[in-house]
Symmetry: C2
Subunit: 169 residues, 2 copies
Amino acid sequence: MAEINFIQNNEQYASNFGDRGKLALPPSKKLIVVTCMDARINPAEALGIKDGEAHVIRNAGGLTKEAVRSVVISQRLLGTKDILVIQHTDCGMLTFTDPSLREQITQAHSGNDGVTNAVKNFEFGPFDDLDQSIKNNVQFLKEDPLVLTGGSITGYAYAVETGKLRRVA
Amino acid sequence: MAEINFIQNNEQYASNFGDRGKLALPPSKKLIVVTCMDARINPAEALGIKDGEAHVIRNAGGLTKEAVRSVVISQRLLGTKDILVIQHTDCGMLTFTDPSLREQITQAHSGNDGVTNAVKNFEFGPFDDLDQSIKNNVQFLKEDPLVLTGGSITGYAYAVETGKLRRVA
């Protein structure tokens, strides 16, 4: 089991839930944030987003290609408009390549054809230049035919060392 | 631009960053949370997760199929172990079907072949039974050849009306 006593923490959280249970499903600020799963990032606190205000999509790296399904649902069904793409310094995605990770996994399961076949063409999406990656990920959304571009689509680098955002795209 | 003054909020956040800049890249509690992008969910607060403790993966619905890339990177490169899958009441994914959303998008861009082609086979992943979806999403991770199952993989329903978690799988 997880080392966090999340059951007890949640009971305490729910005991003081107040008016949060009345919040509406559509994000009140019509905002989508796409960012990394990194444990050091707390999007709500770092951006000052309150409950009910924004959709938050997170994956390894904050890759927008993998976020398209969520963005489309958010915009088309729940009325969001602006998109913030936030990637960050010291990201795990800067530390490996597809061939290196495929090799690591294949070796860890030597002789397991299921693993070998599943990983051999798997694209993990690493990148080697943070600013360029942010530009690419913003551009991807701007060019995707299913993403609405009536709002702003901007990209920021978040420094895990200082907590600061820097505009990149 | 977004209606949230996130630049100003972030300056305030960073001005009081303290020791957070010294946190390590690998999640200290070796935990992965997979949950929905819903604006009413604050995983850190609802579960009592502190900065640096857990990876948080979020997408429309909290679908684990879309989280596999992130889970693999988290486990293989950053040493995480347990996985919590959390889906929730009043989810947008309970409100539509693939054909209905495809039709809505196609009609909104009548005559645009780029949109029509992009959406015609798009799987948005709606579900019509919350508990069954949680069970399916936990099972998916347990059966994926690339996901390590040495830790626990459990599923919970989060009630946006009360803030409470309920164990489902």
